[in-house]
């Protein structure tokens, strides 16, 4: 570990790719690691330019991402880590997951880790999020669920179905909404089972999620499956906006 708290990994190989002329890559990384709100943002702007100028070369991009991710493994400031995560949202890859995964578990840093992981391509990012579901601080779990929803992680259907009936009402609501966004037959079946079996305050969320799943089925060509869901949601037992949406959706599906 360097005196400024940068992991040695961050500095490995930084000289091998393009760096801004204003300062060396090593100086830049140290400055980012110690950045706090209220200081000049000039080094951050330099770093953003550094990222930008290396976007088009896969090798350089990986190098910059690796160097930045190294900051996450040291004793960098929270503001510095947040800046790094936002850069990794653009250039990060699976290679950076080992540095990001621990941040997911801590309520203080989970959101910044999600900024990077949520937009990262590849199944390993899904795995990291799924693993964090059972290990993360309780307050971080809804956000992790939301990231799985955004990524439409099919492997999350079962654990999210379990969360939908859990004690944490916020996480349960996020889990139900996530099933709708993930879509597909597995999510459709899960939501069908949850119908009538969640906390009464969450019944409406199940209906809204089913509307999303029905749209997804239409998009994938399963219009009959969608019409079945719509017909059930158009019934008197549903709230008025759900009935309206179901009738509109059914009409469109039959066209």
């Amino acid at each position: 570990m360097t005196p400024n708290g940068i992991g040695t990994a961050a500095l490995a190989g930084v000289a091998s790719f393009a760096a801004p002329a204003a300062m060396t890559a090593e100086e830049l990384l140290r400055t980012i690691a110690s950045y706090e709100y209220g200081q000049t943002r000039v080094p951050l702007l330099v770093a953003e330019e550094w990222v930008r100028m290396n976007l088009d070369s896969e090798l350089n991009r990986r190098g910059v991402a690796f160097a930045l991710a190294g900051i996450l493994e040291g004793n960098a400031t929270k503001d510095g880590k947040q800046f790094v995560c936002r850069q990794l949202a653009v250039i990060g890859s699976e290679e950076n997951l080992p540095a990001l995964a621990p941040l997911l578990l801590d309520a203080e840093t989970a959101d910044m880790a999600r900024y990077a992981i949520q937009r990262m391509p590849g199944a390993k990012a899904d795995t990291v999020l799924l693993d964090a579901l059972d290990k993360a601080a309780a307050s971080a779990v809804p956000g992790i669920i939301n990231s799985l929803a955004d990524r439409r992680t099919v492997a999350a259907v079962d654990p999210l179905t379990a969360r939908a009936t859990g004690d944490d009402a916020v996480a349960a609501e996020c889990a139900i909404a996530a099933l709708g966004k993930i879509g597909g037959l597995d999510a459709a079946k899960a939501l069908d089972k949850l119908k009538g079996n969640v906390d009464p305050s969450l019944e409406r969320a199940v209906s809204d999620a089913q509307l999303l799943v029905a749209e997804d089925l239409v998009a994938s060509g399963d219009k009959d499956g969608a019409v079945k869901i719509y017909t059930a949601l158009a019934s008197n037992g549903e709230e008025a906006p759900v009935q309206t949406a179901a009738k509109l959706g059914r009409e469109a599906a039959r066209m």
């Binding site: 200081q39 976007l55 936002r86 653009v90 939301n146 929803a149 008025a240």
Partner: protein, 450 residues
């Protein structure tokens, strides 16, 4: 007016008549429906004599300067009865409550800090939303889920993904939507666009859009959060950041965590007019080049100066068979407003009732009944009230707002990546460009999601 609250389970099966259903379908299908000529309710004998029982029961989410301005404008119409306001700033909230109560001579207006509690009410028909851009999608989608009709401020959304989700939600639940892009309800913009759409300047090859410049400010110190301001709620889905006065309220628009700068703020007006005139409200450019000048330090980070070159494909516009270029720049490059340039002339429109043509005689040409007629609204608020009643589409529908602001978002993305981006306007994605695709959306903080 009729209640469409969420707690009347089963009650609406019969209340939802086929007529209502068909009108909601019409409103939900966007541009596929021929734009109707809306007859003002005043012309139908409603106007000032709207009975309290037939008034549209409304509430406001966001009553800062813009939201309060909108609310005051609405209060001049007898069509609406305001019963509730919601704002995370107690000062704004109480000010709005007082204005409403003084207007009605009672103390009936309820104030809320949390829009979710506001939406627990079962007496609302419609809402006015005027919150910072990073907060646009969440309450709008929540209101659509409640079946509430929505008048909402531009620019539509913080990201292309959020805008798309808003369009889908509004169409899914069949609610009426009016974007606050009020230039569509002004005669000069309507006339200019209608002339362009009917070929009066020939085939259009270029549209120039002039917008305001941005701002910079020095680094700001962290400050104590003012009493009565729920700053954590104000941040909402945006990344955690220390409180400083110049981050919040009107100034949010200079910071990319909460807005897209003047580019998005004003593209929602003048790019919207450009799309209206060109008939490109259901499509977009296929490539965007952009350069910008950004603050070199300090709190603000949105572009101060910007220059976008957006290429539209042949056939995207009915008046540009060979395609056209939309040039969008701050006022250092173009005067504020929208200039259509065709093979047979030019038309320029801007605020202040400005409409100019070259040759000037173009402005004397009438548009016939059998030609393309654009939706005519005499007043933006009245148009919303009329559409809430008729269930017709408003003059500034949500799909048009989405396509207008997409142009600005694409410009910001191209500037941030430092290169041209190619765009598929049908699929609404960047083909073969995974880096740009990452810019379509942002992770939301904590529990927030759409």
């Amino acid at each position: 007016m009729k209640k469409r609250g969420s707690k009347d389970k089963g009650a609406t099966a019969s209340a939802l008549s086929r007529r209502d259903f068909l009108k909601r379908t019409a409103a939900a299908t966007g541009a596929a429906v021929a734009a109707p000529m809306i007859i003002p309710s005043s012309a139908l004998g409603l106007g000032a004599s709207v009975a309290p029982s037939n008034r549209i029961v409304m509430g406001c989410i966001g009553v800062g300067s813009q939201g309060t301005g909108n609310m005051k404008s609405f209060l001049q119409f007898p069509d609406a009865q305001f019963v509730a306001v919601c704002d995370v700033d107690r000062g704004h909230r109480e000010n709005a409550q007082n204005i409403i109560n003084e207007t009605y001579g009672n103390k009936d207006c309820t104030g809320y800090n949390d829009f979710r509690e506001f939406l627990e009410r079962d007496d609302l028909d419609a809402v006015s939303i005027a919150v910072p851009d990073h907060w646009h999608s969440i309450p709008a989608i929540a209101c659509a889920k409640k079946g509430l009709d929505i008048y909402a401020e531009k620019p539509l959304a913080l990201t292309i993904h959020e805008g798309k989700a808003m369009v889908e939600a509004v169409h899914r639940y069949g609610v009426v939507w009016q974007t606050g892009s009020w230039q569509r309800s002004k005669d000069n913009f309507h006339k200019g666009c209608e002339l362009v759409r009917n070929g009066r300047i020939g085939n259009v090859h270029t549209v120039q859009v002039g917008l305001p410049t941005g701002h910079s400010i020095e680094t700001q110190p962290e400050m104590p959060i003012p009493d009565g301001f729920d700053y954590d709620f104000w941040l909402g889905p945006a990344p955690d950041a220390p409180y400083t006065e110049k981050r919040c309220h009107w100034d949010f628009r200079w910071i990319l965590d909460y807005s897209g700068g003047q580019l998005t703020d004003w593209a929602a007006h003048h790019c919207d007019i450009a799309n209206w005139g060109m008939g490109t409200e259901n499509t977009g450019p296929v490539s965007v080049k952009a350069v910008g000048v950004f603050p070199r330090d300090g709190l603000y980070d949105a572009a101060i100066n910007y220059n976008l070159e957006c290429k539209f494909a042949p056939g995207a516009s009915p008046v540009a068979p060979d395609g056209f270029t939309m040039l969008v720049a701050d006022s250092a490059t173009f005067p504020m407003g929208t200039r259509f340039i065709g093979t047979d002339g030019e038309i320029f429109v801007d605020r202040g009732d400005t409409i100019e043509a070259n040759p000037a005689s173009i402005l004397n040409e009438a548009v016939g009944e059998n030609e393309t007629r654009l939706y005519k609204s005499e007043n933006h608020a009245q148009n919303f009230f009329d559409c809430v009643r008729s269930r017709e589409q408003c003059v500034a529908p949500i799909h048009a707002a989405h396509r207008a602001i997409t142009i600005a978002h694409l410009g910001n993305i191209a500037m941030q990546l430092g290169r041209e981006v190619n765009w598929d306007p049908a699929a609404e994605t960047f083909p073969n460009d995974p880096t740009a695709v990452r810019k379509l959306k942002r992770a939301m903080r904590g529990n927030w999601h759409i």
